[in-house]
Subunit: 370 residues, 2 copies
């Protein structure tokens, strides 16, 4: 076991800074094992002295705070939320297939995962600090310094105060009932359910009440849908925040060969913000007809929904299509081509998996004898 | 002027019960004129004696209320919200073009509109009644009796208590600064910004705190995405609620002939729930490339966003495509075919308008001389 824990369930894209996604097999668990949970890092894991560590709360507040871990635990009520985190670049590989995106991690379907997060409600901490009337955004800054940023800076981002005031947004010290591992942001990270993973800042050091969104590199320059010509710069492009409705197929895998007859397909679907997954459909005739998949365990409104369907497949080449619907009756766009953007964010195209279906053994035998 | 006011700006689909949509020209106003605002009725406009009228609040509450209009005005603070209402059947004509939907109103793009609504905040009234702990939904019942319903019943619907507790949900007696006209629900209607129009119950008589969604015909049987085989019945199909991201083109019109050179295109876009319209793109090359349209006046988070773009069109046949993006970076599905459902709800396909572009007069003259 190396520095990042057990590695068997991770597909490692970059060793340093460590970037790895959950393998397909481990994505089918309703709650993702901590060791299998995707890791998105923009710099080395910072060394933090827990006894000296303080969370500072400042900016547009009535009183600045400096809180030790012990104070956080003692002064505020503990809360646990089951929430899915999803990297804005999840499923980027599908966009790369349309047109190359050379400098970004080629995430497959596993830059997402669900855990139970335990800590305190951010809103309780904000209430103690007392946001001033003109504060509209809540910024978070981590201890990790990113050499990717221009200029080099600590990772950070912000969410609207309206969202930060909701009870599901946590400052978490535990993941799946165990202390947060270093790679996931120990001693304390933000968890913003329904928002892109980049806002769930790890190794949290500082909270800043602000009159506008975070001005740092990771919100004001990147994590944005840039124009097709890749012009980048402060404030250029469409900012990301809420997670768009998405789904993917976990089995069978793209390009798989299966035997004719009943074949079980499984996957996940997720709707961010105030939406939930209302339905998942599967088509094996190019979208001419769709059949509803079974929605599996409901982990609450901040978590993904796994689905399952048994298809009766005849021999031949098949394209399996999937589309999720959210509670506004919106569904996913058809294909990746129209979604391509220079940094490859938010691929939420209706997924397609190509299968080769062989005759069952008996049928093959009969054919061979004929 | 007839019973329903001026009719010049309305396209009337059904006279009794009155169902009419806003004409294209009037849809380009940022706020829709009251006389031009779409009307969706499921029964005759009820006759209501204002002096005898009371709003009853009951169900799972600490104390039942019976409030006259005067009491509502005196006991609670007045609030005005600019909000777009949209019928779940808006743009149904696009679905009918795929496959007929015989028994529903063939709405074009005008079953939507934006008004300033004035009244009291629903949450203030609920607070006086005191919802009991197990209440999860807030039901509304109008005075209008619908012969369409099985069995015949008053129109009604519900929203989650969480939404009903938000400050944008009103009990409104005024529309665009004037008393609510009879056809729009006088003396009092609900206005639920971001939800399908069917939840903004007109001619409101009764509010009921409930442990589950409304069991009546207009929520439990219809206003649902039914399965493709049109099986209907209590609880069958996917319930509607939040409005899905949508957009449409208001000019030029489908099938229009225009002159080559700069052509201005205009339209609207709307994102329900906690989303806002972040971007609108236009393509004139079949979706291969997209250009950002200009977003016009921002009327706040509960209103549509008009957009405008000047296209430089060369002679020939052109297909103009439009797609809106919401603040989760989700965009619209490509085409109506996959969205067809038996009652024709929620057509939010990326709109397409076909244009014939003629050479400019000088070019035609030069061509004639050559």
């Amino acid at each position: 076991m190396g520095r990042f824990g057990k590695r068997d369930d991770l597909v490692v894209h970059v060793e340093e800074p460590f970037n790895a996604e959950t393998c397909l097999g481990s994505l089918t668990n309703p709650v993702t094992d901590t060791d299998a949970f995707y890791v998105r890092s923009h710099g080395p894991v910072p060394e933090i002295d827990r006894s000296a560590w303080r969370l500072r709360v400042g900016g547009m507040v009535e009183r600045e705070l400096s809180l030790s871990l012990e104070t956080l635990r003692e002064a505020f009520a503990e809360r646990t939320v089951t929430a899915t985190l999803q990297c804005a670049g999840n499923r980027r590989a599908g966009l790369i297939a349309v047109r190359d995106i050379p400098d970004e991690v080629p995430w497959g379907p596993g830059a997402t995962g669900t855990a139970t997060w335990t800590g305190v409600v951010l809103a309780d901490v904000l209430a103690l600090a007392g946001p001033l009337g003109d504060a509209s955004d809540v910024g978070f800054e981590g201890a990790d310094v990113s050499p990717e940023a221009e200029p080099v800076q600590q990772f950070g981002g912000s969410i609207p105060l309206d969202k930060a005031s909701r009870p599901e947004v946590l400052l978490a010290w535990a993941m799946n009932g165990e202390p947060l591992p270093p790679v996931h942001g120990a001693p304390l990270r933000v968890v913003v359910p329904g928002y892109i993973g980049a806002r769930s800042v790890k190794w949290l050091e500082r909270i800043e009440l602000r009159p506008r969104p975070w001005p740092g590199y990771f919100q004001h320059v990147v994590y944005r849908l840039l124009p097709a010509d890749a012009t980048a710069g402060p404030g250029i492009g469409m900012p990301l925040g809420l997670v768009a409705l998405n789904s993917d197929v976990l089995s069978p895998r793209e390009g798989a060969t299966v035997t004719a007859g009943p074949v079980e397909a499984r996957g996940y679907a997720f709707a961010g913000g105030d939406r939930y997954v209302a339905r998942v459909d599967v088509s094996i005739d190019g979208g001419a007809s769709w059949t509803q998949a079974e929605l599996l365990e409901d982990l609450g409104r901040w978590a993904w929904r796994h689905w399952r369907i048994t298809l009766d497949l005849v021999p031949g080449e098949h394209e399996l299509r999937v589309r999720a619907w959210d509670s506004s009756a919106a569904t996913q766009p058809d294909a990746e081509a129209a979604l391509w953007n220079p940094k490859g964010y938010v691929n939420n195209a209706s997924p397609r998996v190509h299968l080769r279906v062989l005759p069952a053994a008996g049928a093959r035998l009969r054919a061979a004898r004929a």
